[in-house]
């Protein structure tokens, strides 16, 4: 791993102007997100639905035009590029979509879907044919699949086609926008293994967007946790999983089931009360305070910055006035088997 990042995102902001009941308002989808991705590294961007993680991904590849910020990919700011330059730059940065059913043109065969990116970038015909065969091998599909249409495949196979299409023009980095969320659990593991395998073989960097910390555990080098348009915690996977600092990260991690039934039953779960606040009118100060059990007056007044716990650039950073796990949630208690049966859940609601 060299120390020059492939992708540097700085203060990325995306605001959508909407009109609600005749009143113009602004949705703050992404509010100043910054992170780096190193060559060969996988950064997982995790958060619940509506936190702006997919918008961040789409802004990076400019499928959505960001309001402001900087997306520096291999030294050039993609946001400054003109239309034609951007089309060339896109060769090296590709995106895999969540739902291959929707993202593959229904009337094109696999062969057409895979050769299209190559033709767009003016590869000669003999190279295209050869490359298409090669791609099939890479994603473990068989040559007889070439002349079929997307609807003739299973979800997992379809996503393989989607990955192959993104890889066709040999990008150095992939933005994976929840690539396994639309798939069955058994298939998810297969696709994750494929992604890990491809990363090793092709030396790819990934920005892996997911709503579930468990899914990305096996492949993330670093993790960034997003909440309501901001990154609340980021760090090496081991640090974030082993020693979560932000209350939100801890809540997310506590939602991950444990395969051992005994441990699972005794496991302490933090269930967040309420819904994600509206990004039209985000809470003042810390955006998580409305659902946080540790919130104080300070959280409402002063916005916590993303501060490093040690001095390294890629170290463990947390945006919280009261990080750490010293204080257990006041109302949450470890669940025991003696819990009364008539209680709907043994989980404690945190207000």
């Amino acid at each position: 791993m060299s120390d020059v990042p492939v992708l540097q995102v700085r203060n990325l902001v995306k605001e959508f102007r909407v009109r609600e009941r005749g009143r113009a308002s602004v949705v703050h989808a992404v509010s100043g997100v910054s992170f780096d991705v190193m060559p060969g590294e996988t950064l997982a961007l995790v958060g619940e639905s509506g936190c702006g993680k997919s918008t961040t991904g789409r802004c990076i590849v400019r499928l959505t035009e960001p309001t402001s910020g900087e997306v520096r990919f291999r030294g050039t700011d993609l946001l400054q590029l003109k239309h034609a330059e951007l089309r060339k730059a896109r060769r090296h940065l590709q995106i895999v979509f969540q739902d291959p059913q929707a993202s593959l043109h229904p009337r094109l065969t696999v062969r057409q879907l895979l050769s299209e990116p190559l033709e767009v970038h003016h590869e000669p015909a003999d190279v295209v044919g050869q490359r298409v065969e090669e791609l099939l091998g890479l994603v473990q599909l068989r040559p007889e699949h070439l002349d079929r249409y997307p609807h003739e495949f299973s979800g997992g196979q379809r996503q393989r086609v989607g990955i192959a299409r993104a890889l066709a023009i040999s990008p150095s980095m992939l933005v994976l926008d929840e690539p396994v969320s639309a798939l069955d659990v058994s298939i998810q593991a297969e696709i994750m293994r494929l992604l890990i395998d491809l990363r090793e073989r092709l030396g790819l960097s990934y920005l892996f967007i997911a709503h579930d910390l468990a899914v990305v555990r096996q492949l993330a080098d670093r993790v960034a946790v997003m909440y309501l348009g901001k990154i609340v915690e980021t760090g090496f996977a081991d640090d974030v999983y082993g020693n979560p600092q932000h209350p939100y990260t801890r809540a997310l991690l506590s939602a991950v089931p444990v395969p051992d039934p005994i441990v699972e039953r005794r496991r302490q779960r933090i269930v967040l009360a309420g819904e994600l606040p509206s990004p039209i009118d985000p809470p003042s100060g810390c955006r998580f305070r409305t659902r946080c059990w540790r919130a104080t007056d300070r959280c409402a007044e002063e916005e916590p910055l993303l501060i490093g716990r040690n001095r390294t650039a890629t170290g463990h950073h947390v945006a919280c006035h009261f990080p750490g796990d010293d204080a257990t949630p006041t109302t949450a208690q470890p669940t025991t088997e003696q819990a009364p049966a008539d209680q709907p859940t043994a989980e404690q609601r945190l207000v």
């Binding site: 060769r91 995106i95 593959l104 043109h105 229904p106 299409r165």
Partner: protein, 284 residues
């Protein structure tokens, strides 16, 4: 338990809706009209302007729909009318679809001020009743079948422009269009390969239904004297001649029945296509 006899069905492969019932009748009818229109000069005993006998003769075996005020065979003239109405309708529809496609695709795909300007033009055109606008345009260009043609294209294109624009906007938001943008495809190619093929079905369905309407409008304009000039066996013009000879019903009835058959056939086929492709009426 008694054994239950299961009746043996011979399963027939279902024909698509546009090849069944009224639609099939429509297709056969149109095919016949087309055949007549193309081959008519080869077997017709008379030309449309030939005087074949006495004036205002009633229907008989030698003249199936009698003769008109100048002694021409009304039946043969009505058949000859298809050689005017069908090509006129085809040219109008094809031109209107072409113009509508260009305008609708530009408006839907480019959006912004292009969309605003083009759609206001569409609104203005569609604010007039079609017949009135067509009359005004023909009247200002001067009567004649060529000017009727121009007028009808000018009246008809906004329908397709609006229809295609709506479809283009819907298709443009699908994720496979994003995937084409992501691989670096140019906008023109995205429009041609990704958007238009998926947006076109409702336009084609509507065009089929409109075919009949154009035949009707052509006849209407000729009837009020703005279209084809008198010796021409145009259906609307023939009905006008029939109206001046009110008690010789056959003179107006023959072209009237011809219009009825053609319009009905197009409507049958168009409705079935609409059902097949489940298109909501986005047109008018």
């Amino acid at each position: 338990m008694t054994a239950v006899a299961i009746p043996a069905f011979t399963v027939q492969r279902a024909r698509p809706p546009w090849l069944r019932g009224p639609s099939l009748i429509g297709i056969i009818s149109l095919a016949t009209w087309l055949l007549v229109a193309v081959t008519l000069p080869l077997w017709s005993p008379h030309t449309p302007t030939e005087v074949v006998g006495g004036r205002l003769l009633g229907p008989s075996w030698s003249h199936l729909m009698g003769t008109d005020a100048l002694g021409r065979d009304v039946f043969i003239r009505a058949l000859y009318g298809s050689r005017i109405s069908l090509p006129v309708a085809a040219i109008v529809i094809i031109s209107a679809v072409l113009v509508g496609t260009i305008v609708g695709a530009a408006a839907g795909f480019l959006g912004g001020w292009v969309d605003a300007v083009l759609m206001r033009a569409v609104d203005i055109t569609m604010a007039f009743p079609p017949i009135l606008l067509a009359m005004a345009i023909t009247a200002s260009l001067g009567p004649g079948i060529r000017n009727v043609l121009i007028a009808m294209v000018l009246v008809w294109w906004p329908i397709y422009a609006r229809l295609l624009r709506a479809q283009v906007i819907a298709v443009r938001q699908r994720e496979y269009v994003d995937s084409a943008v992501a691989i670096g495809m140019s906008r023109g190619l995205i429009l041609r390969r990704y958007v238009l093929p998926m947006a076109y079905t409702p336009v084609l369905v509507n065009a089929t239904v409109d075919f009949g309407q154009v035949v009707l409008l052509t006849a209407s304009l000729s009837f009020i004297g703005l279209g084809a000039r008198p010796p021409s066996p145009e259906w609307g013009a023939m009905i006008f001649e029939g109206a001046t000879n009110f008690y010789q019903w056959w003179i107006a009835a023959a072209p009237g029945i011809a219009i009825l058959l053609v319009v009905l056939a197009f409507n049958f086929v168009g409705d079935a296509l609409r059902d097949t492709f489940d298109v909501k009426d986005l047109g008018r």
